[in-house]
Symmetry: C2
Subunit: 333 residues, 2 copies
Amino acid sequence: MSVSELRRDPVTGRWVVVSTERPRADDFDRTPVVIQPDDSCPFCGGHEHMTPFEVLAYRNGSPSNQPGWDLRVVPNQSPIVRVEGDLDRQGEGLFDKMNGIGAHEVIIESPRHEDTLATQPEAGVERLLRAFQERIQDLRRDIRFKSFLPFKNHGAAAGAHLEHSHSQLFALPIVPREVRDELEGARVHYTAKERCLFCDIVRQELAEGRRVVAENGEAVALAPYASRSPFETWVLPRRHHSRFEDAPGGEVAAVARLLRDVLRRMDAALERPPYSFVIHSAPVSEPADFYHWHIELLPKVTRFGAFEWATGFHRNPTPPETAAKVLRETNGA
Amino acid sequence: MSVSELRRDPVTGRWVVVSTERPRADDFDRTPVVIQPDDSCPFCGGHEHMTPFEVLAYRNGSPSNQPGWDLRVVPNQSPIVRVEGDLDRQGEGLFDKMNGIGAHEVIIESPRHEDTLATQPEAGVERLLRAFQERIQDLRRDIRFKSFLPFKNHGAAAGAHLEHSHSQLFALPIVPREVRDELEGARVHYTAKERCLFCDIVRQELAEGRRVVAENGEAVALAPYASRSPFETWVLPRRHHSRFEDAPGGEVAAVARLLRDVLRRMDAALERPPYSFVIHSAPVSEPADFYHWHIELLPKVTRFGAFEWATGFHRNPTPPETAAKVLRETNGA
């Protein structure tokens, strides 16, 4: 094998240079996520008055906006898009714009400041995915919204502003470019083969085995062939569903168990790395039966500059086969 | 105006949320670039033996790989792609790969450790652009290469591994996704209008004025309408040329003067920010007369997570009109 390999992601067509040489120490930037106690944390149990009113909560019979909950969803206090108003689409010569209409919600995953998704009991991740589903099912009745982005940034280096474990949900009147590119890749494959591209990827990866991180009866975790960065991991349900919010409860529970398993393996193998994940799902605004919802998880263990961003050309110093082997052999239990 | 606006980039179609509210302090992450003295810097004059042999140098008659130069180009000591070998394109089921063939060169912009592009005399930036052109003209005789990426990362936060001012050049057997998307956007516009999209953007921006940062007889610096991050700036030649490496000397000199002017304004207004820039140019592998070469410059003044990366959906807390006004009114002289 050559010292490096150019690999093409079959979904988006992006090229990645995967190094097969020993990586250089200065490729990496490791800052373990350490959660500091914070008496004034607005997300802690007992501080419900410090957040906007909740739009959803899982509670043991206690009244709204009071203690006694496992998970709360509240509007973001500094939203970057707002529900009120008209889209007011306009052209400005060559340019297109509309008002920043949308929903921007925060899912507080636990009343306990020190919890993380990885350290919470199994029910924690399942609750989070279920809350995402419930909120999307509610928000999609608003026909202005075309796509939903459920995601989490964990740790300041991954873009989190508060340390208390939380996720976020955007409802947007547009379809982001990455989603559009994935849809297009999946559509082209479906048109040519009459098969789902993601189903094909899962089938090939399970047969091949080298990039499988973990699996259970209903879900598979993979290091994707053209991983953009070290330890990138996708969690895919085995069954074909285009939209996350319509996935059946048993499947979501299985994906949640596997996601937690992967996060625990990463905490052990990579020393509690900052990470982001995004749930990729077909937009509500168009038929997209050929798409297959999944989660893309990117631990942040390298520095990356605007170069990657400005070119869409990525360099990954850790082959996904190596990353998958490390995680597969790590005991995250 | 609403609190935020969704804007669409006319070239790539990506959507950006531009906030029009006062930004929050924690949106920003400002780490001025400070260059520390380093006696063992391999890029300093007198240390020519610490680099691979030069492939190009601008010197005052002195012999190769000796002191007496203004700029040197050397192969990267730890290249991520290599010139030797065959592409050996292969499929692996659904996946596509080839060997990591390419060139990866480093342009050392000055023998003096403390110089930056902004603080060097005017000739410095022009020398850099001219060296990029010369190296591409040489490398493009190798028909394995489809595209060239001339770029610079300045400061560790922008991905630079060494502090001594340098740029990099990739020659690649693929066309990166961002370049492909820009080509497609420019092609669609040209097909519909029989006009270059970038020429149209320059014309509209000069007429409108609010996003113009600076200009001279042959080039224009703009804060793009759908800026991805605060103070993103594009430098475009007024004249239409699809390929940077074929641009005439006078035009390159004018672009160089304007780029330096913008970098000096950023140093003054943003306190010597880390930054990256990439020269966007049509691939050599295909006719692309409809494309218009330009430079995209991104100062790194915000944190950004994998979220932006994973979705192609960006949030920019500084409207480009504000950024352009700040830079326009800054004395970078």
